[in-house]
Amino acid sequence: MHHMTLTELAKGLKAGDFSSRELTTSLLDRIERLDGEINSFVTVTRDQALAAADAADQARAKGESRPLAGLPLAIKDIFCTQGIRTSCGSKMLDNFQAPYNATVVEKLQAAGMISLGKTNMDEFAMGSSNENSFYGPVKNPWDHTAVPGGSSGGSAAAVAAGFAPAALGTDTGGSIRQPAAFCGITGLKPTYGRVSRYGMVAFASSLDQGGPMARSAEDCAHLLGAIAGHDLRDSTSVARVVPDYLAELDAPLDGLKIGLPKEYFGDGLDAEVESAIREAIRVYESLGAKVCEVSLPHTHLAVPAYYVIAPAEASSNLSRYDGVRFGHRCDNPVDLEDLYKRSRAEGFGDEVKRRILIGTHTLSEGFFDAYYRKAQQVRRLIRQDFMDAFEEVDVLMGPAAPTPAFDLGAKKDPVSMYLQDIYTIAINLAGIPGISVPAGFSGQGHRPIGLQILGQHFAEGQLLNVAHQFQQATDWHRRHPTDQETT
């Protein structure tokens, strides 16, 4: 039961094999037993989860028909949950309880899903290893000496470890896709504007997007259908009909045109990752797809542009954490400046401070044109690269990350950490959707490898279809780590 997909669990509930309470209890017990080691949850909401499970069981007895009703999931601690702490992985918000639910949380509740709790993450979603959390690092369930990826590392680890069949994550530069790859699960970053950002603590507003992390593309299709859609509370959400993502899953891939961006197979790509991805491409060819090489010529500019735009927006978004109205406040401030300086110095971790400094600098008078404006120009070029490529092919494929999960503590230098996102960041800059699916393992350490599939704006249905067909032909996504009680 701990490693079943949402789809399978839904069948089990319907058939009466187990109740929602039994399922929920079993998962909560498992979290209690094993998550001390993994550290994927920041807050476990046992009482609320059991109450919701009981309600779901009662509704089922009365003829419940919502497909996701009674199914548990975990929520990244970046989504506001009414009355339950939303820490965003930061000391700054260790004491913060929002008086409202994020739109996606509301939608999942309306679908009858049960939240098991809030998952660990890099502080304010800034990081690629989940080592930047006030609540400590998360361990990769496949290998406890490895990172789970980040920033949605807690969500990815919880799904991989059999704590939750699915989780919500957010992706600003790869924060769903890279941890999904590192933990051997399926993670989808939707098109910017497809999923409401209301109630999602902002990191970089023009890049942030929430999305599903689960054990199959089919499960992601279920979840995306539940959370997508226009929201009057988010002006950047798009008023566009949400298609039936499940209906598209079984379309055959015969004639599908796959482009392999040559820039995604260059220097710095781990040989084992490359061979796993090439093998996955052969699977697609066997399913009738046509493969060709394409070029995204501005790829090398994506990381620099991202590390101007994202910190610039972050420096402004994080100004509200000033110790005045909520969040961490230093003891006994002597004056206003002292209140600001110490509250922020104490409340934020190093990576967050680094990015606030970068962003403040790049927006400063005299530097704005050279950095921010230039980065926005680069952003348009990167977007155009993708538009040009999609003139020739239907989807793009490549690795989700240049290496399998690296060791905890291995990357001390921030820039080497930033380069982890070399294949994921451009997608956020372009606003297009991307999905990461399990595609093999590295020999050493048996760490998962993720295939990334990219599509045009609002082509989530196609991505899910392409990913699902791969999962019909392979079983990488059905593998799960064995429980390690201690390291």
Binding site: Y100, A102, G199, L232, R233, S235, T236, S316, R320, L336
Partner: protein, 483 residues
């Protein structure tokens, strides 16, 4: 040396939307602190702004009223700085692409000289909260009720040359926004606040002098005083060999002086950048034309019409068009009585006198324009004379009757025009005043004109004010001169 003053103004107008510019919280004034601030106004994590369309419509209406360009695309940006009453650590405002482009406003000076003041642009932004420094034992209180209130900041070119012109300009802006109904224009409640940029230069010099910005001046009178003080300060400074430094100053009405707040070097770097939470505002010509169709007649047009088609003097037209309630009152009186000159006299004379004496706004006048129009009609058709009319007005003011006609009836104020009745009264007065009659008749004819007043007064008294004074005058003259 002869000095020239150069003034530019930034006027912040609070827009009269029901809810805030980016949230659904109420904008009503005077509520308990922090009771009108929702999660969005408080800047809680995860919340997002949604633009209030009403604020956009109001800004566009203002732009159309000053013949400004309305760009197809405008953009919200973030102005970043830390302040306790600024919840998000940035103010959402507009800079590079404001909603209203270049326009102009006509001002009229005391001597009826007209001048055009160019508007550089006007932009939408959110207001901050308020810091309260009293009653908190060494700490400050923050009230965020005002945070997120929509403001239209109207930025003029440095086209004003005196404090009087600056005041005339603010009055003109006040008239436009209140005519449009996009602001209550209440300066005491902070609905209009000005930042005044002042510099001086030797007369004839082209380049501008170094300016000082006087922040947050909130009355017509203070604007005038602050400018006068500042001009004098700058001239003295330069004449004493000093230099004006670019700085922000504060006007203190108690001391009647301006004081330095911060110099240019201490100024914030606001790190403006486009707000990623808000889409660009795109306005097509259909929308703009729709807004244009909602515009009322504006003060300048009204003033012109009052002069040309109603034949009022420039002065009367100016006073009666100065505010929308005044103009509407006057036009309602006119609609009833049909005589513009008489309506103007009554509104500016008897009515304004009473309103000023009791410090009542014309929109709360106890005498309705319909009542006043009814009264003026009875003067025009000679039902009552001027003296009785004042009595009727007083009765209406004191709510002693529903209409002029009712008061005229119940008090018997109808003018007596029956020649026989008036003659009888005159005969009586002549009979009762033999001494005065003798004096009159002995006097030179040219002195008689003055002396007749006594007899008129006696006859009017006898009629309890109801006799037609012209008739009394004529008949008296006849009778006294007969002998």
């Amino acid at each position: 040396m002869q000095w020239e003053t150069v003034i530019g103004l930034e006027v912040h107008v609070q827009l009269a939307t029901q809810s805030k510019i980016f949230s659904g919280a109420s904008t009503a004034f005077g509520a308990e602190p922090n009771t009108q601030a929702c999660a969005i106004d408080l800047g809680l994590p995860g919340v997002l702004p949604v633009l209030n369309e009403g604020a956009v419509a109001m800004a566009v209406q203002f732009g159309l009223a000053i013949n400004a360009e309305i760009p197809e695309t405008s953009l919200f940006e973030r102005k970043n700085y830390f302040y306790p009453d600024l919840p998000k650590g940035y103010q959402t405002s507009q800079m590079a692409q404001p909603i209203v482009g270049k326009g102009e406003v006509e001002i009229v000076l005391d001597d009826e000289v007209r001048k055009r003041i160019r508007i550089h642009h006007a932009h939408l932004e959110e207001d901050a909260g308020k810091s309260l420094h009293e009653d908190f034992h060494g700490m400050s209180g923050i009230d965020l009720n005002r945070a997120g209130t929509p403001l239209l900041e109207i930025v003029s070119e440095p086209d004003m040359r005196s404090a009087k012109e600056a005041v005339a300009y603010i009055r003109a802006i006040h008239a436009i926004v209140t005519y449009l109904g996009i602001s209550d224009g209440n300066m005491a409640e902070g609905s209009m606040r000005c930042d005044v940029n002042v510099s001086v230069r030797p007369k004839g010099q082209e380049t501008l002098g170094t300016r000082a910005e006087i922040k947050n001046v909130n009355s017509f009178r203070f604007v005038e005083r602050a400018i006068e003080f500042e001009v004098e300060r700058q001239i003295e400074l330069i004449e004493d060999g000093g230099k004006v430094v670019q700085e922000t100053r504060l006007y203190d009405p108690d001391q009647d002086e301006t004081r330095s707040m911060r110099t240019k070097e201490e100024a914030n770097d606001y790190r403006y950048f486009p707000c990623p939470d808000l889409l660009p505002v795109m306005l097509d010509s259909a929308y703009i034309e729709h807004q244009r169709a909602t515009l009322p007649e504006l003060p300048t047009e009204k003033r012109h019409r009052f002069e040309t088609s109603l034949g009022l003097s420039a002065y009367d037209a100016g006073v009666l068009s100065s505010t929308r309630p005044m103009a509407e009152y006057f036009e309602a009186v006119l609609a009833v009585c049909g005589d513009a000159k008489q309506a103007a006299n009554w509104v500016q004379g008897e009515l304004s006198g009473h309103l000023n004496r009791e410090n009542i706004d014309i929109s709360n006048s106890p005498v309705t324009p319909e009542q006043l129009g009814g009264l003026v009609s009875r003067v025009l058709d000679d039902t009552i004379n001027g003296k009785a009319a004042k009595q009727v007005f007083a009765a209406l003011w004191n709510n002693e009757g529903q209409s002029a006609d009712e008061i005229i009836d119940t008090r018997g104020l109808k003018q007596v025009t029956d020649t026989g009745a008036i003659e009888a009264m005159i005969d009586q007065v002549i009979a009762d005043s033999p001494v005065q009659v003798a004096q009159y008749r002995d006097a030179d004819p040219e002195k008689r004109g003055k002396m007749i007043g006594y007899f008129v007064g006696q006859v009017m008294k006898a009629s309890r004010g109801t006799a037609n004074p012209q008739q009394v005058n004529g008949l008296l003259k006849q009778k006294l001169d007969e002998a």
